[in-house]
Structure formats: C-alpha cells, structure tokens
Symmetry: C2
Subunit: 369 residues, 2 copies
C-alpha cells in the first residue's frame, strides 16, 4: 500500500525531543520532581506584575493575538534603543532558530558551531538539511577565534555562538565578541545567542549595531525574566535580516497572554534586577554545595552552574541519574570533556536545600571504584 512520502530531508531524520522534559522523566521513573533545577528556568518566577497583567487579560483570550506583535516589538525597541522593524518576536528562541535556518540554509550548506553547543540549534540545522561543522570548546569556553576561522575555511553560511554560553556558563567580554564578528565573512550570518544576557556581568553584551549586515542576536523571556512557560523570544538585527522572518513565520504563533506577560515583565526592570541578585546568590550557593562534596564549579555568567564531577562523562551521567532517583532534576553537557560536569540551575532555597541534602549520597552511589 502506498502512502505520502516524506521529503528526503525529513525521511533522514528521526523522531526526537531535543530536551526530555522533567514531566517525562517523572513519568518514566515514577519519581516526582522535588527540585526542578535542570532546565535553566527561574524558580524565582516572574514579576508579580506579570501575573496581575495575565489575570487581567485572561477574559480576552478568545481573541487572536496581534500577528504583528506591535506593542511588544515597540516596547522592546524602546528598551533596547533600536527600531521596531529591527526586532521580531517568536515562539521562544527555539522557534526563531528554526525560522533562521529556514531563511538562510539550503540543503547541504555548512553551519559552524561548537562541539557541545546548543542542541536545539543543531536540531533545526539538520532538520533543514544543513551540515554541521564544529570546533571543540577550549577551557570550557566556546572558542571565538576557532569558530571564526572555521566559518572562513568551511564556507559556512551561518555560525553560532552563545554568550554567555550554555551548557558551561562561561562568557567572553564584548570586545572579544566584536572581534569575532569582525573576523566572520560578511556573507556568513552570525547567530549570537544571548539567552543568558541579563545575568551576565556588565561589559559582556556588545552595544547593538544593527547596521551590521550579518548579525542576529537572540534574547528571551525564559531565563532571568522567569517566563519559560510563555514561549516568547526575540531576535534583533538589521531590517533586512528581520524582514526574512516576516516572509515565513507563523504570524499568529505567540499566545495573546504571552504578549501581555512579556510587556509587563519588560516594564518591571526593578524586579528583574532583584531576580538577577537572587540568581547570583543561588549560583554561589550551588558552588558552595558542590565544594562541600569536594567538587569544583565552572565560573558562570548565567542562571546555572556547571559542576565538575571530577571524573569522566559516564560518572557524571550516573550522578545525574542518582539525583533523578531522588527527585532532583538536573541536566548535563553531552560532549566530551564538558560531559564531566552536571549543570544545575539557580533556584530558590528550598530547591537548593534538597540538592545539598541529596548530592553527597548521589555522588557516593554513582562511584564505581
């Protein structure tokens, strides 16, 4: 019996979930999640004003969202000091990445990234028939010089860099990023993922320069703003690049309450600053908890800490599993060398109390002499 054929690109893919959710793990393991500190969400939550704004807008939920995201785009433009047609809103950074790849990557085109970089970006590249070329991390940092060189030598159409980085939490100062951008050929798109920009030290994020023909910067409300559940990310770049999204995006893709929530979050910068302080404090506590078990932590500019389990990737995997059995949801890097670490998200004290309680036993249970 015949049936509709997938395209050749899709036929070559498998069904997958780039990140298995804690809900799925709880279903699989039969263990409820007691401490949700694995997805770099912010357990400190959003501004109370966000919840108020969503509640107020609730009765309007029968209306489609504004497909132009007009109010939010204009609010972001004012906040960032750019023009409203230099920013596009999407269903999280993940959604925007899918569109970006679709706009620029033909089957067989090379895309440069780091070995161990953001898996969902890779998912979209491969999903559109792109070919990944990678350079390794160096000292737990993405390596901008090597990435720029790879972009040049491989003929890549797109190069990805996260600053601050996920999954390691490391970062480069703005000057290094600007030198990287300068070193990338102008016909190669620089995708600069700044999902963790709000928690980074001053001087990490370069000023916006939307006259650049080949730079897209990705930001989100999912991390420091505490709104992972609303699925709102945005991309900033010059008008031509942003216009590319408007040729293909799902115009009604962003939930109406999400638009309202993001606006309210953006307006409450005082809360954001409080949240960032709480995140920094939680990061320090994670490092302290790790140190109590004799483990080193990688310095971080994000809302998570990569904790070095001190042995190989298999050991770190077992530590993660042991924590999971105890209801502590964390994740870990998958690429060699990085994979010696587990990645623990900043969270409120009750979550970190559970981490402190269960980490020593998990390390012990994972140990195979």
């Amino acid at each position: 019996m015949s049936a509709p054929r997938f395209t050749a690109i899709v036929e070559a893919l498998s069904e997958t979930v780039p990140f298995v959710g804690p809900e799925a793990l709880a279903r699989q393991n039969g263990v409820p999640t007691l401490a949700r500190i694995g997805a770099n969400e912010s357990g400190f939550g959003p501004s109370p004003k966000v919840l108020e704004a969503m509640a107020k807008a609730g009765p309007d939920i029968w209306k489609y969202p504004d497909p132009e995201n007009y109010d939010l785009r204009h609010a972001l433009a004012r906040h960032l000091g750019i023009a409203a047609d230099e920013v596009v809103i999407g269903e999280g950074i993940d959604g925007l990445m899918g569109l970006l790849v679709r706009v620029f990557i033909n089957e067989g085109d090379v895309v440069a990234t780091s070995l161990g970089g953001y898996p969902t970006f890779n998912y979209h590249v491969v999903g559109h028939g792109g070919v990944l070329a990678t350079v390794p991390y160096r000292n737990d940092h993405e390596d901008p010089e090597a990435l720029a060189e790879l972009a040049q030598t491989s003929g890549a159409r797109m190069v990805y860099l996260a600053n601050p980085d996920n999954p390691m939490g490391t970062w480069w100062p703005a000057a290094t990023i600007e030198a990287f951008i300068d070193a990338v050929p102008e016909d190669c798109l620089v995708v600069l993922d700044e999902a963790y920009g709000e928690t980074a030290p001053a001087g990490t994020l370069p000023p916006f320069n939307t006259s650049r023909p080949n730079v897209i910067r990705l930001r989100t409300f999912s991390k420091a703003y505490g709104l992972a559940g609303i699925r709102v990310g945005y991309a900033v770049g010059n008008k031509r690049l942003i216009g590319g999204f408007n040729r293909i995006r799902n115009h009604f893709g962003v939930n109406r309450l999400a638009q309202v929530a993001a606006m309210a979050a953006l307006e409450d910068q005082a809360y954001l600053q409080q949240a960032v302080v709480a995140i920094h404090r939680a990061n320090a506590r994670i490092a302290a908890i790790a140190a109590e078990s004799g483990l080193a932590s990688v310095p971080t500019a994000t809302n998570f800490v990569a904790v070095d389990c001190g042995q190989d990737g298999a050991y770190a995997r077992r530590v993660l599993e042991e924590l999971g059995k105890r209801g502590i949801f964390v994740r870990k890097p998958a690429a060699p060398v990085l994979d010696r670490c587990i990645r623990i998200s900043a969270g409120p004290d009750d979550a970190l109390d559970l981490l402190a309680e269960h980490l020593p036993a998990s390390l012990k249970a994972a140990y195979e002499p």
Copy 2:
C-alpha cells in the same frame, strides 16, 4: 558590501501578514474596534473553568511547558477515541500547516486546493517552494470531486479541503468527504481542515479512521472553544504521519497556560454545547440583520455567515471598508464570485447590535450607482 543570502525560495517571497489583525486596522484607520466580528473568534469566550484553570496555573509560568504535550494529547485521544500517538499538538492549525508542508513538500511539488481557500495554507505551501493548483468553488461549496480529480491529474502530493468551509461556511456530509478521500491517490496527503467541526450539524464529520495512510485532520481550540488567543491546534492521523511532525516541530512551542486552558476547555463539553447554541443563534441573527437590508446569506455550518452583498467584489470591499470606518471589523473572501460576500463572525448581542445599527448606512455609503 556582501550579506548573507536568503535561500532561493525565501528570496522569492515577500514580507506579508496573511490576515491583517483588527489591531493593525485600528492603528491604520484611527478607529477603535467596536464590534470584533471578523476573525471567526468566539466573542462568547471560553468556559469560565478555563479562566479558573489558567489563573491557578499562572504561578507555574516560570516552568517550560511539557514538550510532549502529554496530558493534552492523552486527553484528546480519550475524547476522540484514538491513540495518543495519533495526535500532535501545535501552535494553532496555522503552525501545524507549516510543519505539514515542510514534512511532505519538496520545491516544485504540486499542492491542490480551492481557488479562494484558506490563505494561510497557501502561504505555507508557497513558503516551502510548493506550487499551488486550484479548482474553483461550485455554488459556494468547495468541490470535492473536482479536487480529487485535480489531485489525480496534477500529480499533487497534497490536497486541501476544509469541511465545514472557510470563508463560505458551507459543508458536505461525511459520506461525501469519505468518497473524496477514497478518490484521492493514496500517495497524496489529504489535509482535512475541520477547524469549524464543533459547530457543524451531526453527520458532517466522518468517524476517525487512523488506519488511513494519507489523511490528516486539523482541529482547533480557536473557534467554538473560544480560545483563539492560546494558539492550540491539533492534527489527527495515523502514527506514521503524526510521527513526521515529531521529527521537525518546535517541541517547546505551546505555551504552558495554553496546555492547561485546552485541557480545561475539553473537559467542559457542557459549556461547549452552550457556546454552539449561542453561535447558532448569532448566525441566525446575522442572517436576519442582512435580510433587513435585503441581503441573502449563505447557509453556514461554522461560527460565521457569508453575507451576499448582491453586487460585485468591489462593492463588497467598499461595504467592508464602510463598516470598518464605523468600528465594525469583518472580513471577506478574495476570490472571484465568492468575493461578492462579506464574512461576519457570530458574536454576542452587543456586537450584533452594532452590526444592525451600522450595516444599512455602510451599504448606502458603498453604493455607487
């Protein structure tokens, strides 16, 4: 100066919004929307239990949604009498259409639809390099026999049919749809858009038969469920077809509160039945308001009425614009013959009071003897 090149497919597209929102119209015209009866939303809103459920889940908004949409998929599967891996959730039917096209359509592949059918479907087809082939409506109905014949003769990889139809509101009984499906080659995917299924008479929707290798049925919470703002649609089909989505979808694309809202809406079938009654009553009132001005209406199985303005498309366009100047937001079909109509969504009495008040003057102002 060089810059990253769009793919050839994207280069050929222009920036667009398939449906200009009432917010944009209000901004352009400087006239606030007094009666929002143009986008086939349900002004009757969702079940009060939905708003309660969203309010309760609000504080969890810092968490990512479950990327597997497990609870909602299982609830839908129970409700529809299918398996949970025979349904996929997406960011509205629009989002699912984009994925569908991406899974099945190569550049240059033919996709069959009706001239005047759903523009967002066409947007996604063209956006992936597909080539549209069309047959005209017949007596304000999509023409299943002609569509099946076109699917055969054109070598189409995909054929689209909405039942009930948008923008005309007409419908076919299940037996006609089943005969249509039987007449389409098995390697051609039938995309059966049932966005308006809940308001259709009994006997309109065929029973589910997920053993069919080539049928995907699209449903939504945006219409009778009164939840256009949450952006949740779903696709039902056999496991292989549904698995195609899981190779490429934006797993975290559906808002967490939207998942909760859809679950609550699905559970309150009593409210849905009330809403459908209110919609039917509103449709009758729209037809009565039209009749008072001497206009005929097309019989409808949806939450809107196509009102025949009795002259050509240019006249109907002017009627629409005159209504717009008066704060009455409606839309209209664009294709020849159909375009003699304006399309008015079922809404609460206050909205239809405004329609009744302003339609006569709008018709008069649009008239050019």
